[in-house]
Structure formats: C-alpha cells, structure tokens
Symmetry: C2
Subunit: 323 residues, 2 copies
C-alpha cells in the first residue's frame, strides 16, 4: 500500500487538500470555499470536510495516509497546536486548537504551521531548493511574506513569528505601513504597490501600454499588467519594474547579510513576472549585500505552482514523522 500525507492549505478564499507522496506528487486534490467571513467554527468544519473527502478517496483507492500536515495564515503555538496570532483575512481564527482537533477527528499525527514558512519548506524539500540546507524564501503577492530554512528545517524563532521580511524597513523615513511601521518593503514592492505605481504612471503619462493592456480601465491595472507592458518594452512599465526590483533586492540583501543563506527562493504571484524581475533583483542584491554573502548565493524563482500550499503542508508532516 503506497504511503501518503494528507496536506491541507487554509487560504483566505479556499481550502485545498490532497494526498502527497514522498516525492511531493499530489493526488485527489479537493477544494472548498473557506467562508472566511463566517464564524471560525464554520471555517473549521470546512477544513474537516475537505480532510474527510480526501481521506475517503484515499481509502477507496487503497492509499495509506500516515499523517496530516496543514498550513494556516498567522502563527501557531507549537507546544499546544493552537493558533496564537490570528489571520487578517479569517475572522476569529485566533485561539483555535487546530492540532488537537485534527488529531481527535482523524486519529492521525497532525502538524500545523504558518503557510509562508511551509511554502519555504515545500520548495526546500520538493522544489527549487532541493539539496540546499540554508534557504531564505519570499512570497511576493498582495503582501510580502518570508520563511527561513536552516539545516533543512524550519526556523521559527521564539514565538513562530520569524521571516517577516515584508515588514522590514528599507526606508526609515518612508511611507507609513498598515502594520504601524514606516518604509516597510511591502509598501514598495508588493503586487498592491506595483499596481498602484501603474495607476499613478497612467495619471502622469496619460495613455500608454499599461492602460491599453488593462483594457483602457485604470482600475483594472494589476501587477501583471505592469510586467506585461514592461516585457513589451514600455518605458514607464520598465521603470516600475526597476524600482520594484531595487527595493526587493535591498530587502533581500538585508536578509542575506543577516542569515548568509546558500539560496534565495522567490515565489508568489509577482514571481511570475520571471526573469525581467529576477535580473533587477539580482543586480540590486549585489549593490546592497556584502560580498561574503552575495558572491555564492543563488537567487531563483520558486518551482511549486498551483499545488504549493498542499505540498508545503505535507512536507512538514513528512519531516516530522521521520524524527
């Protein structure tokens, strides 16, 4: 009987579950809306329902499920398996004893961790980081998150709060961030920031390729629109990509100077811009980073795509049950 982990990824919009084998392949993927605006109880029931569906498929197909791994927004108290810092986009999620619930419900060893950290672990075990032991990882999307892998394992810090590169300050007197700080990387280089720069550029430059690619509607400009315009040679768009890459590079250089990793993996929606962004980031890292740490570091794009959440969640359980 082939052995699997049940990987679950709790997102603000959807919950995904699936069986993940030792090599990171996914089977029987199941998706259900999170209902994140309803009570935490509803969200929890939706998670259990996804888990049940996948486990039933596993039974029907004679697959053995060894354990459950789950990724969640926020932070987890690993002593009790309880969510200690809620997720912005899931109401009332703080305080949910998620590990005990999963364990009781399915009688399986269960492990839950922050989703960005698990993305990092998934890339380390099954994606772009295979073979490396010292990795830092960024997810650049609506926000900017980060995860740290050291000795091949998750670095959590004292209270599961490590990796918050999106809220590191790169400009001390910079823009106010919703976190209360100033000049956070996220304010300059997230998908949101890039889209905003695209919109402003239209205001200033009038009609251009960015606006055209957004179907003429300024409100439809996204980070993707900006990158697409840049790839087609639009100067205003290229300028935004330069700025974004410069900021990301400075933030990554700080991370590198502090942790001296072998490898930096960049994932999330913005990473889909690909080489056009990666080139600027790498240049900026060389400018802002120390040579001892930048000369050998590999900066690459993440490899895990649509199943990244489920794979990362399973990676945790694969690692934990081996101990």
């Amino acid at each position: 009987m082939k052995e699997y982990i049940l990987g679950i990824d709790l997102g603000g919009t959807n919950i995904e579950g699936g069986l993940v084998d030792r090599k990171g392949n996914v089977r029987f993927k199941t998706t259900k809306p999170t209902d994140s605006r309803k009570r935490a109880k509803t969200v929890l029931n939706n998670i259990l329902s996804v888990a049940k569906t996948v486990i039933e498929k596993a039974k029907a197909n004679k697959c053995k499920v060894l354990a459950i791994g789950m990724g969640t927004p926020g932070a987890v108290d690993h002593a009790t398996g309880t969510i200690v810092s809620g997720a912005e986009n899931i109401m009332g999620w703080k305080g949910v004893p998620i590990v005990p619930v999963l364990r009781r419900e399915f009688g399986l060893p269960s492990f839950v961790s922050n989703d960005v950290t698990l993305y990092a672990l998934g890339e380390a075990m099954f994606g772009a980081g295979k073979g490396a032991k010292e990795i830092i990882c960024l997810t650049v999307g609506t926000g900017i998150g980060g995860g740290i892998i050291t000795g091949g394992k998750i670095y959590r810090g004292a209270k599961d709060g490590a990796g918050e590169i999106g809220h590191t300050t790169v400009k001390l007197d910079g823009k106010k961030c919703k976190c209360g700080s100033f000049g956070c990387l996220e304010r300059y280089a997230s998908a949101t920031a890039i889209a905003n720069m695209g919109k402003q550029s239209c205001k200033k430059n009038g009609k251009g390729l960015i606006l055209k690619l957004a179907g003429g509607s300024k409100d439809k400009i996204t980070a993707k629109t900006v990158f697409d315009a840049a790839k087609k040679g639009d100067l205003a768009a290229k300028d935004i990509v330069e700025k974004t890459g410069r900021y990301l590079g400075a933030g990554i250089a700080n991370f590198i100077n502090l942790l001296n990793p072998e490898m930096v993996i960049i994932g999330g929606g913005v990473a889909e811009a690909g080489n056009i962004l990666l080139r600027v980031i790498s240049k900026s890292v060389k400018t802002y980073g120390l040579r001892i740490s930048t000369k050998d570091v590999r900066i690459v794009l993440g490899r895990l795509k649509t199943n990244a959440g489920v794979i990362g969640a399973a990676a945790l359980a694969w690692q934990e049950i081996k101990r």
Copy 2:
C-alpha cells in the same frame, strides 16, 4: 584537578588569553600586542606565545586545560579551520589554517570562530542571555557587528557570514558605506557616526557642552563625549542620542521581524552609554517592529565587559567538547 578552557581573543590591537572555568570565570589573563601591521606569521607567533604563557601558568597551578577556543575577526571555514575572509585590521590574515596549527602545537581540541559571534555565545552562556535560547546580539563600537544564537547555539549561515546587521540598509537612498552599499546602519549609529555628529553639531551650534567635555578640541569629540553631554542635559547631544537610538531601533526591529528572538543583547563601547540609549532604542523598536515579535522581546545591555572576548572564545570550546 579543576578543569578549564584556554580562551584566546585576537583583536586588532591586542591578543588576550586566559583560563575560563565552567561558569565563565577567568584566571591568568595574559595580553600581548597583535602586531597587526606585520606579517600574518608574526601575528600567529604572538597568538602561540600567549597560549603558551597561559598553559604554563595552568601547569604550574595544577589546572587542567581541556581545549582551546579562539575568536578572530573575519570568517572561518569550519570544515578546515582556516580563516576564509580576512580581517580588515590584520594584514594577510586570510588563508591562515588556525585550527590545525593550534591543534598541532598544543595537542588539544581547538575551535575557532568569528569574534562577534563568540561575543553572542559568551553572553548567551555566561552573561545577559543566561537561560534564553533564541538571542540576537549586536556590538556597537567603531563598527556594528552582530551574532545569532538559536537553540542555544551559534547560527553561522552557509559560509560563516551571518549576523552582519551593521551592513543592513535602513535608508535605501542613504549615505554610501565603505562596504559599497548605501544607507547601512553602521553609517548612522556606530561610535564613528556618533562622534561625527558631535563634531558637526559643534560646527553648527558653536560652543556647547559637547565641545567643553572634549576639552575644547573638536577633534577629541568621541561617542562617549556625546553621551556624557546628553546625560548632563545638553540638547544638541540629546538630539544625537535620539537619532542614533532611532536608527539602531529600526535596524534591530528588522532583525527582530526576521528572527523573532526572545532577547536582544547590545554590547560594544556604545552600549556603555547605558539606559539613556536603551530607552530610545526600545521606543524605536516598538515603532518599527511587528507586535508579534516586539511584545515579549527583552532588549538588554551586555553583561560581559573587559573579559568578553576570552569568555566568548572559551564558551565555544565548552559547548563543542560537550557534544
């Protein structure tokens, strides 16, 4: 027979050695000039001479030396025990196979690591960090260095280059640093930067307490002069302390956001300013750091003073021989 480690600290000016017991107490401390402007061979001979002197004293007093621990500027390749990244202030120090030399010469297990990292370990084992496992440490002096302790042990990164908080960028468009980057923390908050601000303040404000405390000579203004003037209520000096603390706090907040430590220990000459600086730093950390990581973190001054180098070096060996 009581057991000791021989701790050696290689500095730009002096080499210090001494016996360190299990509790971090130092005996038979011996000091010799480094001769850092002569050949690496000379520096090495001076190190061996300090070691021999201490070991002879140990024998004469029936103390058993179990191993040697040594701190060095630069980075060490821990596979070969060789200095891989030289020290700015010691000529030709790169490439020296320091661990094999010590081992051959004295027939004792020998361990060498970067001095700032060892300061962190010393504080963790014998100083302000006793009992904590997740610690970040800064030394604020002529430059700003850093060390990371996780699970009670040194975090080195891929190539022994971790902890370089002095060269993290807090002001993307800021002053050029000698490292080639821009807006490095060290440019704004090191003893050198503080003394420069003191000098500039005299230029602008004419005669004031800072100048008076420097005996009327602008060139004699140091970081200490500025802090002394601030403690006596001088407004220009207090302004410099505010600025310095704000920058240090922002840099530390970045470090905290990435690593979520239990504790931050601040050492080095500038830390001697004491509470007047610590208060500003703590305020700034709250401004720039995320609540999840700042709410429980303890920010304290280092406790190891004159013997910090020797104690940190010995701490490494005490930890290594226990394995």
